[in-house]
C-alpha cells in the first residue's frame, strides 16, 4: 500500500520537475530540474521492482549525460556575464525548488531503506535475469549497441576536434 502512495508522490515530483525544466529560461536551471526529474523516475523504477534499472538511470542519465550537458554549457562560456550569474545563482530562490523536490525523494528513500521488508515490489526482475537475457537472445542487439556507441564516439570526436582546431587557428592568426 505504502508503495502505491510513494509511486504517486514520485510521479508528481517527476511531472513537476519536467514541466519546470521545460519552462526555464536559463539552461543550467533547467538542467537542475531535469536531474530531479531523472531521480524521480529512478525512484519509480525502484518501486516497480527494477533496482538495476534505477541504478543505471542515476549513474548514466543523471550522472554521465547531465555532466556532458554541463560541460558544453560551460564551454559555450558566458564571459563576464557569467560572474554576475554565478552570484545570482547563490540566491536561495534559484535552488529552493529543486532542493524541495529532492528532499521529498530523499525522505522516500530513507523510509524505503529503513524498512527491511520495505515497500519494494513483490517480484523484482533481478539483474541476473537481465544479464542472462542481454547476452542470450539479445546478443545481436548488444553488438549493434556497441557499434552505435563507436559511431557516436567517432562522430563526436570529429565534430569536437574541428571545433578545437579552428579555435586554435583563429587564435594563431589574431596574434
Amino acid at each position: 500500500m505504502l508503495e502505491i502512495v510513494f509511486f504517486y508522490i514520485a510521479a508528481t515530483v517527476a511531472l513537476i520537475a519536467t514541466v519546470m525544466a521545460m519552462t526555464r529560461a536559463n539552461a543550467i536551471h533547467a538542467l537542475i530540474y531535469l536531474i530531479v526529474s531523472l531521480l524521480a523516475v529512478a525512484v519509480i523504477f525502484f518501486l516497480i521492482g527494477a533496482p538495476f534499472a534505477a541504478a543505471l538511470e542515476i549513474v548514466i542519465y543523471a550522472g554521465a549525460i547531465m555532466v556532458l550537458f554541463v560541460f558544453v554549457i560551460m564551454m559555450l562560456n558566458l564571459g563576464e556575464k557569467g560572474d554576475k550569474q554565478e552570484r545570482q545563482w547563490l540566491k536561495p530562490g534559484i535552488w529552493a525548488g529543486p532542493a524541495i523536490l529532492s528532499v521529498i525523494l530523499l525522505v522516500e528513500l530513507l523510509i524505503v531503506i529503513g524498512d527491511v521488508n520495505g515497500p519494494v515490489s513483490v517480484s523484482a526482475v533481478s539483474a541476473k535475469e537481465v544479464g542472462l537475457s542481454l547476452f542470450g537472445p539479445y546478443v545481436l542487439a548488444v553488438e549493434i549497441a556497441a557499434m552505435l556507441l563507436l559511431a557516436g564516439l567517432v562522430g563526436s570526436f570529429h565534430l569536437g576536434r574541428r571545433y578545437l582546431e579552428r579555435d586554435h587557428i583563429e587564435k594563431g592568426s589574431s596574434q
Binding site: I48, F69, V122, G152, Y163
Partner: protein
C-alpha cells in the same frame, strides 16, 4: 501474471504525460540545448513505459530495452552536443531558426 502492486495504467499514464511534456518542449523551444533536453525527456518516458511493462509481465526484456535506450540516448547526446559547439561557433547563437538553411 501481475508482478506489480501499482496499476500498470497509472505508470503508463505518467510515462505518456512525460512524453507529452517533452514533445511540447521540443515544439515551443528554439534553443538547441533545450531541444536536446526535450529529446532526453522523451527517451526517458519511453524507457519508463518499457520497464513498467517488463515489471508487469515479470520479464527481463523491458530492462534490456531500457539499456538499449540508454545507449541510444548517450550516443545521441554526444553527437548532438558536438553539433551544438559547431552551431555556436558558426552562427554565434544557439537559436535554431538561424540555422534552418542548407548550404546547397
Amino acid at each position: 501474471m501481475d508482478g506489480l502492486n501499482i496499476p500498470l495504467n497509472h505508470i503508463l499514464l505518467v510515462s505518456s504525460l512525460l512524453f507529452a511534456i517533452g514533445m511540447l518542449g521540443l515544439m515551443i523551444r528554439r534553443n538547441i540545448i533545450f531541444i536536446l533536453m526535450s529529446l532526453e525527456v522523451m527517451l526517458n518516458a519511453a524507457a519508463l513505459a518499457f520497464v513498467a511493462a517488463g515489471a508487469h509481465w515479470e520479464q527481463p526484456d523491458g530492462q534490456v530495452v531500457f539499456m538499449l535506450i540508454l545507449t541510444v540516448a548517450a550516443a545521441e547526446v554526444a553527437v548532438g552536443l558536438g553539433l551544438v559547439l559547431q552551431v555556436q561557433k558558426r552562427f554565434k547563437t544557439l537559436d535554431m531558426d538561424h540555422a534552418n538553411r542548407m548550404q546547397g
